[in-house]
């Protein structure tokens, strides 16, 4: 029976990857209580920091994103994940702003994560890697910005898990955030989303090649489990309307169903492709750790149960954006953030963009999104003394 087909993995030569690395020597106290370190933060930058150091934008990536927002991915050679947004003359204008995009703690593109070698054992960390949180990721990013000498960010922006980091930044370091743009996000991960993540994790852990997480030491790779996790997750990033528009019930390279379990339907073929290419660029244990970080995220809980308290006294300018067809981080989640910001008398704008692209809309060509962001950033830039542009 046809199942998933995996191309031969490329050799990893991550020392040749573009971008920068920061080695943090002093240990970082994590939410789980571990003093973690030394560790590495891999990051990429775009544009030039101005002499006032006032034009820096921190770009926070999503669950399976990385620091290559606007570079070809070194493993897949595909365009950067936010090339729609980042570049000269684009919304995040690299001729005007200095963009920093770090790979999150626990990631697998150069920042220390479970696939890196634990100096104590000489083996990959695997499940001995400490469980990290969104706040830990943000703490690590703060160390990076301190290292770069950027005390105040013009803007922190990100979609999905990136939005969680944006909110955490705004709550933890309000004086370092002039403008905050959480897109398609939430102040806490919903039960439904935790449930989907658990399906993905169980798929990985059910793969015999996962080996209790020690697959790297044993020269194996749980590609089947990771691919199934990706397939399940990928459905949640789309919308019924988008799936129908793209695939409907169309058959894949055949005129009739085959009365078997081959990928008869285009949508099956598409999902299998999504799954099998994902394993090329992502580490299964990283997937476990980062989904867990999202599950644990609950900004109100970090502030005594009150989301408004998380933003008390904030002087940051917020632009909250959601998408009509996003059922993973639906608009009511964003509206809750807006209401909390209102309760904190914060300066907030909020737009729900009409689109059938689902959660993934933040990565796609959405003219209304670009227009809103362009206007918001321009207004903020004016207040920041960065001038105004058409």
């Amino acid at each position: 029976m046809s199942t998933l087909i995996f191309p031969r993995p490329r050799a990893r030569s991550d020392q040749d990857w573009p971008g920068y690395r920061l080695l943090v020597r002093a240990p970082l106290r994590l939410d789980c209580g571990v003093d973690f370190g030394p560790f590495t933060i891999a990051y990429q930058t775009y544009g030039t920091l101005n002499p006032d150091r006032s034009n820096a934008i921190l770009v926070c990536h999503a669950l399976t994103g990385d620091q290559y927002a606007a570079d070809p991915h070194p493993l897949t050679e595909k365009p950067g994940w936010w090339e729609t947004m980042v570049g000269p003359g684009k919304v995040l204008d690299t001729e005007r702003y200095f963009l920093i995009c770090p790979n999150v703690l626990g990631g697998c593109m150069g920042t220390t994560g479970p696939q890196e070698i634990d100096p104590a054992s000489g083996q990959p960390w695997a499940l001995s890697f400490p469980v990290i949180t969104i706040r830990d990721m943000v703490r690590a990013q703060k160390l990076l910005l301190d290292h770069l000498g950027i005390g105040s960010l013009f803007c922190v922006i990100g979609g999905s898990m990136g939005a969680m980091q944006v909110l955490e930044w705004a709550a933890s370091y309000p004086d370092s955030v002039f403008a905050a743009v959480p897109i398609a996000g939430a102040a806490r991960h919903s039960a439904q989303n935790i449930a989907f993540h658990e399906v993905g994790r169980q798929a990985i852990m059910a793969d015999p090649d996962w080996c209790g997480g020690r697959y790297l030491s044993l020269d194996r790779k749980p590609v089947r489990g990771l691919a199934v996790a990706r397939m399940a997750a990928h459905i949640t990033y789309l919308s019924e309307a988008a799936l129908h528009r793209k695939f409907g019930r169309n058959l894949q390279d055949r005129l009739a169903v085959t009365y078997g379990f081959d990928a008869d339907f285009q949508v099956e073929s598409y999902l299998r492709h999504q799954g099998s290419t994902f394993v090329d660029r992502f580490d299964a244990n990283s997937y476990l750790y980062i989904t867990r970080a999202m599950d644990y995220f609950d900004l109100a809980a970090e502030h005594g149960g009150s989301l408004a308290r998380a933003f008390e006294g904030t002087r940051s300018r917020f632009c909250i954006i959601s998408f009509t067809s996003d059922w993973l981080f639906p608009t009511p989640e964003s509206r809750e953030i807006v209401h909390a910001l209102n309760a904190a008398a914060a300066n907030v704008s909020f737009v729900e963009i009409a689109t059938d692209n689902g959660h993934d809309a933040f990565l796609l060509h959405e003219p209304e999104l670009f227009e809103t962001l362009h206007g918001f950033l321009n207004g903020c830039a004016e207040h920041r003394g960065l001038g105004r542009r058409k």
């Binding site: 509206r335 209102n342 704008s349 909020f350 737009v351 009409a354 227009e371 809103t372 206007g375 207040h383």
Partner: protein
């Protein structure tokens, strides 16, 4: 900018949707200009149903107010945010509860009250979150509307009330006298009122008198909570 269905518009007609460029002084719609005159420089202002931000933009530039807006239409919100205004997509029925008491010096509800689902609750919220509230609305007691109903026996359609009955967003129309009675009932004090004629020209008539209710096409009221903060 036309609303797509019942409750879809915060404004009461095409004429009410601000179409001038934000901040273009002098081109501000007459009732908005009168409202702007009532607002002190440097105040904190919430404009509910702010359209494309004409009033907020004007206030920001001319009076340096700290302005926020709420608008239902995506195009309106985008226009506002695109001009650097802080506006959220939302409506008066749903999105006022979160604001703390006295969050604003002035809350403006211009030509929107009649499109809300619970006008009484909305007025209560206005005077709770604003030290003052400025409310403007079309007067259904205006003599031309009365005459039209009397002579044609059909729901009035005018340059202010442009929608036929079956697709109007204006589900809670009232007269000036109705509005004053509501304020009395919920203990909201009317600090000031201005009535506008057909051409948007203001004239002062006692809002409790029957003349105002007959001659005014629109009313603008400045309210404050009974506590008189």
């Amino acid at each position: 900018m036309a609303p797509s269905g019942e409750g879809a518009a915060l404004s009461f007609g095409a004429a009410a949707q601000a179409t001038v460029a934000p901040g273009a002084a002098g081109e501000l719609r007459q009732d908005l200009r009168l409202i702007a005159e009532m607002i002190e420089p440097g105040s904190r202002v919430l404009d509910i149903g702010c359209g494309d931000g004409a009033l907020l933009g004007y206030l920001a530039r001319q009076k340096r107010v700290d302005g926020r807006g709420i608008e239902l239409s995506q195009s309106g919100v985008n226009a506002c945010v695109g001009h650097g205004l802080s506006v959220i997509q939302g409506d008066a029925d749903r999105d006022l509860q979160a604001y703390p008491d006295g969050a604003f010096d002035v809350v403006v509800l211009s030509q929107t009250l009649q499109a809300t689902h619970r006008p009484r609750r909305v007025v209560e919220e206005l005077v709770r979150i604003g030290r003052r509230a400025i409310v403007s609305f079309p007067n259904f007691g205006f003599w031309r509307i009365r005459l039209r109903l009397l002579t044609t026996g059909r729901m009035p359609v005018s340059h202010c009330l442009v929608y036929p009955w079956y697709e109007t967003p204006n589900i809670h129309l009232c007269t000036i006298r109705d509005f004053v009675a509501l304020c009395d009932e919920i203990g909201v004090r009317v600090d000031r009122s201005v009535t506008l004629d057909r051409h948007g020209q203001p004239y002062s008539l006692d809002p409790r008198g029957s003349l105002a209710n007959l001659l005014a096409e629109q009313g603008i009221f400045v309210l404050c909570g009974s506590a008189g903060l």
